[in-house]
């Protein structure tokens, strides 16, 4: 995991911690200098969460989407197919709205061993509540300054945990990121 300038705050000192903004504007960095980290995660129930981080490969600084840059996540529709559906068949817009989401910014906060990581790092997020798990996910990076191919994310095969006696399977709790 890449942590350019995160704050490690002892728990007792947390209220005294201040955020330090290290992110850079994405439209100031060409795609050829961008390092991208993307994931599509299925927790065993219906929803699939797509997460993305963009970094300047020169120094690992996080990039905040600016200047018209956008990240679009879709379930089963590559960007050329989205354009085709949107301009085509009657009812296509509804199909697109259910399977195409604009990824929204959220700050990364996570527990680590004995510490809380408080960061102002921008990451991007989309949640598909009724995903088709048999179709791939795509992330489109829409830019004014250049054109970028879609990034494809395919889920691995599913599995289940058989719990020992007394344990309680749960899908709703994430220990750390």
């Amino acid at each position: 995991m890449r942590h350019p300038l995160l704050l490690l705050c002892a728990v007792a000192l947390l209220p005294a911690c201040t955020e330090v903004t290290t992110a850079r504007n994405s439209n100031e960095v060409g795609t050829e200098h961008i390092y991208a980290e993307l994931s599509a995660t299925h927790g065993g129930e219906g929803s699939v969460v797509v997460d993305a981080e963009l970094h300047d490969s020169a120094d690992d600084a996080f990039l905040r989407l600016t200047g018209g840059d956008e990240l679009i996540a879709s379930n089963g529709l590559a960007s050329d197919e989205i354009a085709s559906v949107d301009g085509g068949l009657f009812g296509g817009a509804a199909e697109v709205s259910n399977s195409v989401l604009t990824m929204t910014e959220r700050h990364r906060t996570a527990w680590d061993t004995l510490f809380i990581e408080v960061t102002s790092d921008p990451t991007y997020h989309a949640a598909f509540n009724d995903a088709d798990l048999n179709r791939p996910f795509y992330v489109s990076f829409l830019r004014a300054i250049d054109s970028v191919p879609d990034i494809e994310l395919k889920l691995p095969s599913s599995f289940e945990i058989t719990s020992p006696s007394g344990a309680r399977p749960s899908h709703g709790r994430t220990p750390s990121r």
């Binding site: 927790g43 527990w111 992330v139 395919k154 889920l155």
Partner: protein, 86 residues
Amino acid sequence: MRLEIASLCDLDSPVRYSERRVLSGDTGSLQLSASELFDSGYTPSGSCNVAVALKRVRYGAVPAAFGGSGWAVGVERRVVTFVSTD
């Protein structure tokens, strides 16, 4: 594809212990004993809310247009929780 495990012990206080690691091989089934949940040898003292997440990770490629490279993964994640005892 690979398997990863993340284990966390929450002592119902501001202090938590967590660790993560890659498990060797993905043969389709896996049996973990209690001593394998925390590879570092960490042993919870007293009662602790334990969460164990298993992840199967499928690696994809980032287009070459991203000159800085990167990674793109699909993840199946399952979590089991329980309360440990002495």
